[in-house]
Amino acid sequence: MNIYLREMKSSRKSLFIWCIAMIVFIAAAMGKYAASSYVSGQSLNDIISKMPEAVKSMFGADRFDLSKAIGFYGAMFIYVVLMAAIHASLIGSNIISKEEDDKTAEFLMSKPVSRAKVITSKLLAAITNIAVFNIITMLSSIYFVGYYSKGENVTDDVIRLMIGVLFLQLIFMSLGLCFSAFLKNPKLASPCTVGIMLATYILSLAIDINSHLSGLKYLTPFKYFDAKNLIYEKGFEIIYIVLSVLIISVFIFAAYVFYQKRDLKI
């Protein structure tokens, strides 16, 4: 419990800044929607729907109905996802590796707690951070999208999207935990996690451009919970949920195993 509280206290400031940034981002994006409001939204949609996939994704327009608030939010949503992924990767990779990096690992390990317990507390702290980030983003999205949506009910859509983001956050957080337990040099944990995160993001863009690559979509978590599917189509796909849960549990399990045996670099 003490370790958990200590972690929460040390990440309080950065979490606060992240949340403010998310609120401002969503407010600014939706405010822009109101300002431009895409008067010619309908005719624009007609044109966009006739374009081939590759060109649509280059305009970032895809299949969203830009004349509606939720469609506009869906088009902006990839940035929310990207920020959530960055936050989660940084939290996951820093929370364990920082002890060695800041030379406090010695102090922590000499306390009468087992290593497993240390990881559990840190894991819980990381999950709390992610959950707070997610909930704040969800609430501000519901508020701002709802404000501009002219009475349409958007709450369900936003909640669905944010549940998808939560999975994505957990995947990258557990990847970070796993790396910081596994890599010999604690300094490499966050660059590696962030590197993989960016690589999968770029892969997801490439899949958008070229439909031949769609077989690779299982490799990038950014494709698991697609805003288009969640708003307009099937909703959650079982295969991706199973896959995400599998990835998350494997990484967390690996983090425990590797960290128990780790030679601390002091």
Binding site: S36, S40, A54, L90, V194, L198, L205, I209
Partner: protein, 265 residues
């Protein structure tokens, strides 16, 4: 000179990793071009049927997008994103790593002036960036030559590609300024990612919303590939702004670093 060499040595590995990953990404994206261009000619036909104002609403003229340079500049924006993160990392870590690793008092007690320290670190970061960019340029050019079916304007290609270096220098100088202002930086990458992505997302919003004023806020829009292709020159306003940002932040970092309290361990 010793300091420059030492710095270069310490970021040798990271320069290699960055250069290789940027080069790999370039090869990967450019190799998608052939299949992209075949589907793109379809759109062109559809769009030609629409009136001029509707086409303008898209911001980019369709003609540019379907040509090789249009595709290249789309891909190039991701290269710039990665390059900016690298440059920001170098800028921030130049000073902050000495403090964090507790080697600052060792360095400062050597018979060199503080401004010499900062100058050598600046040069070392610049050299690493230049090496990365040269590797990128060569890879991009070779790949472009082999995938592009039609011939493209080589001068424009290089004019666009070189802007990678300009944006990197802007971010590096912002990074150095940050590292001289902030007392202790625990994690370089969280700050560099935060700053770079903040600017990047502003740039993305700018592109989606076509807001003129937002262009001035983010360095990612200072060297707009669309403008370069159209006018085959850089937009002078933004060149001046970039120079201003770079010079001011480097000058300020000297001012702050010369006066800074450096704590012995």
């Amino acid at each position: 000179m010793n300091m420059v060499l030492h710095e270069l040595k310490s970021c040798r590995k990271s320069t290699i990793v960055w250069a290789i990953s940027i080069a790999l990404m370039t090869i990967f994206f450019l190799s998608l071009y052939p299949s992209f261009s075949s589907s793109a000619s379809l759109v062109k036909k559809i769009l030609e049927g629409y009136p001029e104002p509707v086409r303008k609403a898209f911001g980019i003229s369709i003609d540019d997008v379907t040509k090789f340079l249009g595709f290249y500049s789309y891909m190039f924006s991701y290269v710039v994103l990665l390059g900016a993160i690298q440059a920001m990392n170098y800028g921030i870590s130049a000073i902050s790593k000495e403090i964090k690793l507790k080697t600052a008092d060792f360095l400062i007690t050597k018979p060199v002036r503080r401004d010499e320290v900062l100058t050598s670190k600046l040069f070392a970061s610049l050299i690493s960036l230049i090496i990365t960019d040269i590797i990128y340029l060569v890879t991009a050019f070779i790949t472009a030559e082999s995938v592009a079916k039609e011939s493209f304007n080589i001068k424009l290609f290089f004019m666009i590609s070189v802007t990678l270096f300009f944006v990197q220098v802007i971010f590096m100088s912002i990074g150095i300024l940050l590292s001289t202002i902030m007392r202790k930086i625990k994690s370089t990458i969280s700050i560099s990612l935060g700053v770079v992505f903040a600017f990047y997302i502003i740039g993305m919003l700018q592109a989606t919303l076509n807001d003129k004023a937002m262009k001035y806020i983010t360095p990612f829009k200072y060297f707009d590939a669309g403008y370069i292709i159209k006018n085959s020159s850089y937009d002078m306003t933004f060149v001046i702004i970039s120079l201003f940002v770079v010079v001011v932040s480097i000058l300020l970092s000297y001012v702050f670093f010369l006066k800074r309290d450096i704590y012995a361990v």
